[in-house]
């Protein structure tokens, strides 16, 4: 604590010194006068047009007065207007994909501006931690995603923008109506702590749901990939940082933007979903006949399709007591339930895929208004989204609103507010995909009285629709997040910013299982209802002191930060069952049940941080950054509540050197950075031994018992990732080709790990800091302007990356162990978790499946206790027994080995534009467990539609249905290639001629058609190579956008 007080004192002394020093200076402090404060009398109106070098008018170019926030944007004809402007002002023109232009007004009233194409984006202002920087001044690896690429697609969440589009960023698209994408920057840096990047929204740390940020409000997303860029966020930055910048208003007349999108979504494929009637009958036959029962092989055959040498009498007499009806006898042999048998005889089948899957309707309506006066800018938006998923009952709705307000109170004080409110409706109860694949096609969906049939084919498999139809759910989340700030300009180029971020969230999840559900009738009786309420409040305070000065060839930029945060949440849950006189009131009438329960869960944590950073520029050629941060967090063991995270980086603008003389190279920058970051994301109470409660009834009283559910670790501490980054930025051919390459080498130490324990301790694991994990990788991004003609512009962006992960140490325990039939001495692996020193975390250690034993290999198979149709597996030590340590091998990797994305964008015939994004994740494998899953009930149900081996229909990839896997020591899991290539998005848009529109009072209007996931190539036998065991939606969207 002493040390901390010291730093607080220091920070305040710095501030007081600044104050004292300034007040001590009587006069002579001069600085550039903000233009907005100039006297109005000297101002004049100004209009202008912005075009590219092909004379095509540029829309959406931001035009603002230098050193102010006063600005506007060009319309579809490239025009802009300032009602009044200082004749001596300088205007700055910025547009994505063009070089920034500075132009002095010089008393003119009309300006013609030409902007040159630039794919390097060197003039772009990139958001970095606690500030912004020109891209050309960056020393670290930062990638910008411009949201305009995605404006015509229907996005549920901002992460939809990121899947596949950023080198080094691995993300898989979500499959549900709510969306949601996993995110991983530069590989997995942790074994058990979260590997999701932290999110910074408009400059402040954002702990809320990404779902609450409307993608339509987003201006850009910047991703901090290397340690030095992210290190200013210290203890939470090890997984990288995503900086989201939302739109802000520009001065000028108010603009209203309206966007309407209507979409349809369907599964990319339903082939895997379920077996149809014929396939189901075949499946049952093929399972039973290879099961090894006492019957002849033809016993389970359809009597009308017997093999030539088998007579119907042979077939009948194979049963001691055949049913007089051959078909009924056959179906009885196939274990058909009476209900199924009737349906078969009556030719009644259910197409479960049609019942469970649907074409989802997606609708999205957004309206936003922005504008500003001389001193105040505003942006306000309201969006409504209603998505139906591709599974019956899956639906997601939300209302999101944002208000961004900036006011210049006077020349030295600015204040403002960024606020967002989101209301999400997640009440979906999707139909069960698992039961879809298990239920028989010879089913009866409803009982005769119209109520749902719980077990549509007799028994075992519940109706996939039960809960969708019989459960009432009200699951909503409201979130309010704001950042309120004041910023003071001080002499000497110092500024001080104080911001306060409150965030509150209210979640309620109310459920009622009616007597038309198994839960409400069988598990509990006469209805079951629960109510969960959770509210949370969090605050965060940032104190930022910045100093920016140039002395000749020396440029300094200093940032100091003190941050503090506190989070509290309160959760309550209650429920009841067996409602009297009836369950009609559902979750609204909990008091009418006879067996209530309740449960509460409150959480609190606190944290604080100090940070200092300096950027130093020498002669605009040499750039140096250094930073240090110290973080405290209540969630770690009290032996280690603090940690320090330093970082440093250098960059060299080689092309500015006199000796550099290569004509076609416009820019060559070399970068190197080093830094250390943390990860604290393992839950606020991980260091405690927690006692759980159990309910007990002793025959007359309900009692509560407790037990210790996990082990304490008072020494628990941060996970630390230290990484090096080397990069280069190159621009060629008059800014038409830009290449960025980065290589990184990261090592995470003191991993937060759920360390396996022998369960005789009573615990299966303990949370501990152990071992180390290394990640190295390479990222390549190429942007090019391929064609630029008056009627056609063609741009491409290609990204390519790979990451190689390696466990460098685990528990530090040495000994002799066996692996792949070899004996090793050294640090011992964790076999329980399949963690091996020197191998990646995602390595697959399993049996090497060579194929499937065929009929003529029966003898060889029998040596292993196997039969034709079982897996043929490599026996490394040749001892005729499959033992895990001897015979399991490293057979592949679960994460993509290479990731490629290619976006092509076209603007043509003035009004049209199109883009196509191709993505490939290559070289990885994924467990395909249906092939070895529990099969004792295959004689009474169905499975998803995967292929299998039969004596006639041989396969070397898929085993027989009744395969024997018990002889494979440690178990066997088959893996299948899950690499894929997909056309992930395609957009085509048409901007309506503005002359036409303006007659209707519309500034601008655009029609767009887009498609997502419209084509995929993969060998994966399951639902979708990207999601694995969930169907992936294919979405078509028609959008209309206009502004007034």
């Amino acid at each position: 604590m002493k040390k901390k007080h010291g730093i607080v004192m220091l920070l305040n002394m710095v501030m007081l010194w600044v104050v004292g020093e300034t007040s001590g200076a009587p006069t002579g402090v001069t600085g550039p006068l903000p233009a907005g404060t100039s006297q109005a009398t000297s101002q004049l109106p100004l209009t202008g047009t912005v075009k590219n070098s092909q004379e095509v008018p540029l829309e959406g170019v931001s035009v603002y007065i230098k050193d102010t926030d006063v600005g506007t944007a060009t319309d579809a004809e490239g025009r802009f207007v300032f009602e009044e402007i200082d004749p001596g002002a300088t205007l700055v023109f910025r547009s994505m994909g063009y070089k920034t232009v500075d132009m002095q007004v010089a008393g003119r009233s009309v300006l013609e501006v030409v902007m040159e194409a630039d794919v390097s984006g060197l003039d772009e202002v990139i958001v970095v931690g606690y500030g912004v920087a020109k891209k050309s001044d960056l020393t670290g690896a930062v990638h910008r995603v411009d949201a305009t690429h995605f404006r015509d697609q229907s996005l549920t969440q901002l992460t939809d923008m990121l899947a596949g589009t950023v080198a080094g960023f691995q993300a898989n698209q979500g499959t549900t109506a709510a969306g949601g994408t996993s995110m991983e920057i530069r590989g997995v840096n942790s074994i058990n702590a979260s590997t999701s990047p932290m999110v910074v929204l408009d400059g402040v740390i954002y702990n809320g749901s990404i779902n609450d940020i409307n993608p339509n409000d987003i201006e850009s997303v910047d991703i901090l990939k290397d340690a030095s860029s992210a290190a200013v966020y210290g203890a939470r930055a090890a997984n990288g940082v995503i900086l989201v910048t939302t739109k802000r208003g520009a001065s000028g007349k108010p603009t209203i933007n309206v966007s309407v999108k209507q979409g349809l979504s369907q599964a990319t494929s339903t082939e895997y979903a379920a077996r149809g009637p014929q396939a189901y009958v075949d499946f049952r036959r093929d399972f039973l006949r290879t099961l090894g029962g006492p019957h002849p092989d033809y016993y389970f055959h359809n009597p009308r399709e017997l093999p030539a040498e088998v007579s119907i009498d042979d077939w009948r007499s194979a049963s001691n007591n055949p049913n007089p009806d051959d078909v009924q006898e056959w179906l009885s042999r196939l274990n058909f339930f009476p209900l199924e048998l009737n349906n078969y005889l009556n030719g009644q089948t259910v197409n479960w895929v049609d019942e469970v899957m649907q074409t989802g309707h997606r609708q999205e309506y957004d309206v936003s208004m922005d504008g500003g006066s001389t001193n105040t800018n505003y942006f306000w938006s309201l969006g409504y989204l209603d998505n139906e998923g591709i599974i019956l009952g899956d639906r997601h709705g939300n209302i999101r609103s944002r208000l961004n307000l900036d006011t210049r109170v006077n020349g030295w004080l600015r204040a403002g507010l960024n606020a967002q409110y989101a209301y999400r409706d997640q009440s979906a109860v999707p139909a069960s995909l698992g039961n879809l694949s298990m239920v028989s096609p010879f089913s009866t969906l409803y009982e005769e009285d119209g109520t749902i049939n719980f077990y549509p084919h007799g028994y075992l498999t519940p109706n996939p629709l039960i809960n969708t139809l019989g459960q009432a759910r009200d699951y909503t989340v409201q979130g309010l997040f704001a950042s309120i700030y004041a910023e003071v300009k001080l002499p000497f180029g110092i500024s001080y910013r104080l911001s306060f971020q409150p965030r509150s969230a209210l979640t309620k999840d109310y459920n009622f299982w009616s007597t038309e559900t198994i839960t409400g009738r069988e598990t509990y009786n006469n209805g079951y209802a629960t109510r969960q309420d959770n509210s949370s409040f969090e605050w965060m305070v940032d104190n930022l002191l910045k100093w920016n000065r140039t002395f000749g060839v020396h440029g300094f930029d200093v940032t100091l930060l003190y941050n503090a945060e506190q989070f509290k949440s309160w959760g309550s849950e209650m429920g009841n069952q067996s409602f009297q006189p009836s369950p009609t009131l559902g979750y609204g009438g909990l008091q009418y049940g006879n067996n209530p329960f309740l449960n509460t869960n409150d959480i609190q944590y606190t944290g604080d941080g100090f940070m200092a950073r300096i950027n130093y520029t020498l002669m605009d050629k040499y750039l140096i950054t250094g930073s240090i941060r110290r973080d405290g967090f209540s969630g770690f063991g009290q032996e280690n509540p603090y940690a320090v995270f330093p970082a440093a980086a250098v960059a060299w603008q080689v092309h500015r050197e006199g000796f550099f003389d290569v004509d076609f190279v416009d820019q060559l920058k070399l970068r190197a950075s080093w830094g250390r970051n943390g990860n604290r994301d393992i839950g606020p109470y991980a260091s405690f031994a927690r006692m759980q409660s159990v309910q007990y009834y002793d025959g007359s009283n309900a009692l509560v018992g407790i037990y210790a559910s996990n082990l304490a670790n008072p020494g628990l501490s941060w996970e630390e990732t230290e990484s090096l980054n080397f990069g280069a930025d190159l621009t060629f051919f008059n800014n038409r080709l830009n290449i960025t390459v980065d290589y990184y080498d990261a090592q995470t130490n003191r991993l937060l790990v759920e360390r396996s324990l022998p369960t005789i301790t009573g615990f299966s694991s303990v949370t501990a800091n152990i071992g180390a994990l290394a990640n190295e990788g390479f990222e390549f991004t190429l942007s090019s302007l391929n064609v630029q003609r008056p009627n056609l512009t063609w741009r491409s962006t290609l990204n390519f990356s790979f990451n190689r992960n390696r466990i460098t140490s685990l528990f530090g325990e040495h000994g002799t162990y066996t692996l792949e039939s070899q004996t090793y001495t050294g640090e011992v692996p964790d076999f329980s978790n399949q963690w091996f020193i020197g191998k990646p975390l995602d390595v697959v250690w399993d049996y090497n499946i060579l194929g499937v034993w065929q009929a003529e290999e029966a003898e060889a198979a029998a040596q292993y206790g196997l039969k034709p149709g079982d897996y043929k597996v490599e026996d490394l030590d040749g001892n005729m027994v499959y033992e895990a340590l001897q015979d399991k091998q490293f057979i592949g990797y679960k994460s993509p080995r290479y990731m490629i994305g290619l976006r092509n964008e076209f603007d043509f015939l003035r009004h049209f534009s199109a883009s196509i994004f191709l993505r490939a994740d290559l070289g990885h494998i994924r467990a395909f467990s249906p092939l070895v899953a529990d099969f004792s009930t295959y004689d009474r149900r169905s499975t998803p539609n995967f292929p299998y081996w039969t004596p006639e229909n041989r396969s070397n990839d898929f085993p027989r249905l009744s395969r024997n896997v018990s002889g494979f020591g440690g178990g066997i899991v088959p893996y299948k290639a899950t690499g894929f290539f997909r056309v992930q998005d395609v957009t085509f848009s048409y901007t309506l001629p503005s002359r036409l529109m303006q007659k209707a009072g519309i500034d601008h209007a655009r029609l767009a058609l887009s498609g997502r996931n419209i084509f995929t190539i993969s060998d994966w036998p399951g639902w979708d190579p990207e999601s694995g065991d969930q169907p992936m939606p294919k979405v078509y969207t028609l959008g209309l956008n206009f502004s007034l």
Partner: protein
């Protein structure tokens, strides 16, 4: 230039800045107060704030009492495995024990249950290790709490060594990453729990609430431990303390069906509602599990009808003469017999052999434990499908698809033990509803003392105890010369089906015979030759059908080393700094080191 206005704005700025600096200072001071980073548990207890008084310790004892219901609740319960690995039954879904390996037990929990049981050991150890963390006002309070914790630990260790043999003896609460365990021999463990239990019997109360172990339960458990440890004289003594205590065999009608003249005392004894009745003087300990409890406080149910009854309604079995489904899973018959899976298919040994002697067979025996009213014999099955032309007529096995499997698929059901129908307000499949179940009962104490007498060669006394149990059941008394180990274990099977941990008790004797080098057994090659295997293999008729019975691709097969189950590989591999032995016969045993022969006294 506007220097004046600029200067003024600077001055304002300075004032404002001073104000902000003050606010900031205040914020910093607030956030830097000592407690700011101190974590605050809000909704969970930690050991530090639980074990501060007697109440805290007793709350943990409640969890341990509840855990006793794991013996016979839910489908894959511990007791079912004890009978599936015995003369009386086979695990129907997994009859080939050679498919049981240290890392797969497929549909059963032969491997996995060890992980659950060690959680109960952990709970006991939490109390044992922390017992002296507080100052006890009354030493007796301390000893009562400690005694019950030791009782639970000894109970579960007795079960563990019965199932798995040698194991590490964990005697303290583990508080960190302990991964250097070594195996103790079962003899070392027996010595340790014997010592512990000798303390326990002094401190357990004589009379307790239902489901709470008493002094009788301690003496009963100690008797088993003495027997296993070959302290036969002491076993006679401790059993005698129970038998002479406040217990008596039930001989008269009582409980919920007492007024039904068709039933008998054995029926009454095994109604779940009667097990913890005050008038039931035979109960030493029975766990409590009631449907009327709050949902979170009750188990999934006893599952006796699911686990032990046959799948008579299954379409392969249930055909009528027309080849159509004659027995169906609905109606009163279904509600009474339930949805047999079965997890334990019962053998002829249990259904017929043990009820036969020179004079009687299972039909004619006067033994109430095989009384017609108490069993549902397979001859009593009838076509219950109203749509069948044979509706109401007796089931004819000749109508089965494969009558050769009649013996295996349809067997006599010990209805008086398995019958636990759904409660009137309980929906769902009839599997065996919630109910109380015996852990220890006086009849077993008598049979334990009889066994102790047997080992001591006092066969007359042994016969006397056995006859106490037999005459209550109206079975013919035996004489001293009839007393053999085999007879005692047959009697246990007759009396204690689904109550005693059968495999554990058989193994107890296997070790005794081997230690005494009787009948050609020895400890050195126990995994190749043991009494358990010889008895199970010769008495369980399933194992004669390796070549003609296939269920789910497996045929009944057992080898001598299966007398103990494999130790979960994950336990062995996670213990990287020590060596936990695998049972001989299973893969991995080649890495064993000699087990520790004594348990060092903890702290």
């Amino acid at each position: 230039m506007n220097t004046l206005s600029e200067k003024r704005s600077d001055m304002n700025g300075l004032k404002a800045l001073r104000g902000i600096a003050v606010v900031t200072l205040a914020l910093l001071a607030l956030s830097c107060s000592k407690s700011f980073l101190k974590p605050e548990p809000k909704s969970f207890f930690t050991p530090e704030n639980v074990f501060v008084d007697k109440q805290g310790f007793e709350t943990l004892l409640i969890t341990m009492r509840k855990d006793l219901n794991r013996e016979q609740t839910a489908q894959k319960n511990f007791m079912a495995h004890q009978w599936a690995a015995s003369e009386a039954g086979v695990p129907w879904l997994q009859m080939d024990f050679t498919r049981l390996t240290p890392n797969t037990d497929t549909y059963q929990q032969f491997v996995n249950q060890i992980n659950d049981i060690f959680q109960m050991v952990r709970n006991a150890n939490t109390i044992i290790s922390r017992i002296d963390d507080i100052a006890w006002g009354d030493e007796a309070d301390r000893n009562h709490v400690l005694a019950e914790a030791l009782w639970h630990r000894s109970y579960w260790y007795y079960r563990l060594i019965g199932s798995y043999g040698d194991l590490p003896f964990v005697q303290e609460e583990v508080r960190g990453a302990k991964i250097d365990f070594y195996t103790h021999s079962r003899w070392a463990i027996l010595n340790k729990i014997q010592t512990d239990m000798e303390f326990v019997v002094q401190w357990m109360p004589v009379s307790t609430a239902p489901g709470v172990p008493s002094r009788g339960a301690a003496d009963h458990l100690l008797t088993k431990i003495y027997l296993a440890n070959m302290e036969f004289e002491k076993a006679v003594e401790s059993a005698g303390r129970v038998i002479d205590g406040p217990y008596a065999l039930m001989t008269g009608r009582f409980g919920q069906d007492a007024a039904d003249p068709a039933k008998n005392v054995i029926w009454d004894l095994h109604r779940p509602d009667n097990k913890n009745l005050p008038q039931n003087t035979e109960t030493i300990l029975a766990f409590v599990d009631r449907w009327e409890a709050p949902p979170e406080a009750r188990s999934a149910g006893l599952f006796t009808m699911r686990v032990y009854n046959c799948a008579w309604y299954n379409s392969a079995n249930a055909k009528d003469k027309d080849g159509k489904l004659g027995m169906i899973d609905s109606g009163p018959l279904y509600d009474s017999l339930g949805r047999g899976n079965p997890d334990v298919a019962l053998s002829d040994y249990h259904s017929y052999m043990i009820w036969e002697d020179d004079r009687y067979d299972y039909r004619s025996t006067p033994d109430l434990r095989r009384a017609d009213i108490n069993w549902w014999d397979r001859e009593e099955l009838f076509y219950n499908n109203p749509a069948s032309s044979q509706y109401g007529q007796p089931f004819d096995p000749q109508n089965m698809d494969n009558p050769d499997e009649y013996w295996a698929r349809i067997y006599a059901m010990p209805f008086y033990k398995t019958y636990v129908p759904n409660k009137p307000d309980q929906m769902g499949q009839p599997y065996g509803s919630n109910g109380d179940w015996y852990i220890f009962r006086l009849a077993e104490t008598l049979l334990l003392r009889a066994e102790a007498y047997y080992w001591l060669g006092r066969l007359d006394l042994a016969a006397h105890d056995i006859n106490a149990v037999r005459t209550r059941a109206k079975a013919t008394p035996i004489s001293a010369e009839d007393v053999t180990l085999e007879f005692i274990f047959d009697e246990r099977a007759r009396e204690l089906f689904a109550e005693e941990p059968r495999q554990n008790e058989l193994n107890r004797v296997s070790y005794i015979l081997a230690a005494r080098n009787e009948r050609g057994y020895s400890l050195e090659n126990l995994h190749q030759k043991n009494w358990f295997y010889d008895r199970v293999r010769s008495l369980n008729n399933f194992y004669d059908h390796y070549n003609d019975l296939i269920m789910l691709g497996q045929s009944p097969r057992i080898e001598p080393y299966h007398f103990q189950w494999p130790i979960d590989d994950n336990i062995i591999t996670a213990n990287t700094l020590g060596r936990i032995n695998q049972n001989k016969g299973y893969v991995g045993a080649e890495n064993n080191v000699p087990p520790l022969e004594t348990v060092e006294e903890g702290h």
